[in-house]
Symmetry: D2
Subunit: 137 residues, 4 copies
């Protein structure tokens, strides 16, 4: 199962060359992640306020085509891997011209008191599972 | 007549104090302005590409209550004044707790070749007019 | 007395039209404010962590000339008014072509427990005073 | 040879958790890249205006420790690979607590008219070469 999210490229997204500044792709991916978590009944704001931390320890992006000002973008998100203490999200960005870019973020469940990775909460694991399309080896 | 626009406060919007960084309010106001212009059939991207310029010459904001991470915001927009060469947009931001903030932007129709204000295009004036609720003196 | 701060207009600052996106001017003004406070021996991060709040309740900007990608900007900052519970900062932005823009921010000393303005701390008042060039009426 | 660049973590960089929002690391890396290019006598703004394009086709980051509000960061940059039509930049971010994060960007010399990679300009290649510490195989 995938989660879909839509946005439009706004003036503040694009640069002098008229295309999205590469770092802003990660901002939109994270907006989609927040919307996805809310869709799962998990409110990031509440999690942070109660000391729950899922920091990103790795991120990457591949840019195949520029994202132009005014373009309507469809982002689909899936859980690539669901580990003991971490999970990986893959995001694909499409427009009418095809695949524009891919983004990946790796999140770890962190205990900030001991600064170490701890097992993912069962609720989170159960809710992410349906979006994990890769067979677990 | 007003134009309504909705958004949610995302993690990248808020600061160390857990509330929206003051400058980001202007970014959301401008997102609403772009959506409003598109609603009027006026595409900002095309306008910029064809050399049409409506730069902001003044902006201001009043902050009454903090905007919290995760909060759902309703923004309403109206044309405050519609002048010969410029127009003023007022934005009001509400949440369930009431009025949070007000933003104002003043746009001028600029001829970049002579760097001077020129009369607003008739099409733009006609489409903005219904959203101007202030009697023209 | 004024405080001076220098920055360059970067690719992520500018938009499709090759000039600084209007909202980003406030970001640079706030960077200058943070550097100014540190210069006064007041660390904003520590203040926020210890519950001290100086939120911005009003901001405005006037844009006289566009800020171009790559341009070196000099920002000068002064305290416009120093009130009982609030202070106003004026920022002027110059380049070799003259005055580009002006920004203003109004900060209030807030007690977040009672959500009300309280007198400015004496240390803060004393350190801001030399940068207040307006005679107090 | 490395290029060094310093910056401080500002209020707009950090999120609700008091640490730098992951996407903003890429913004600072790109600021360093712009300063590095200017140091080499290559002005990005002029390059873009004259139709020269070095878009980022891949980016990644590893986050080892959070970057806190107010922290002074030292970023060092080196050319990891210098290919026929592309180059890879590695950025390391340090504070007094050690290595905080690594960022990588891959840039391609693009001919926008044919939307294809073309050989790097000789001037660019010569100026990047001293910062390429990896023996070319």
């Amino acid at each position: 199962m995938n989660y879909s999210y839509a946005f439009e490229v706004r003036l503040h997204d694009v640069d002098h060359a008229g295309v999205m500044f590469f770092a802003h792709l990660f901002v939109h991916a994270h907006d989609a992640y927040e919307a996805f978590m809310a869709h799962l009944g998990l409110d990031l704001s509440t999690m942070i306020s109660t000391g729950e931390r899922l920091p990103i320890v790795h991120s990457s992006a591949d840019y195949f085509q520029p994202l132009h000002h005014g373009e309507k973008i469809t982002l689909t998100l899936e859980i690539k891997t669901l580990g003991e203490t971490s999970f990986t999200i893959d995001y694909s960005l499409h427009a009418t011209t095809g695949l524009l870019a891919k983004v990946r973020t790796v999140h770890v469940h962190l205990d900030p008191r001991i600064n170490a990775a701890i097992p993912l909460p069962q609720t989170l694991r159960q809710r992410l599972q349906p979006y994990c399309n890769t067979p677990i080896s």
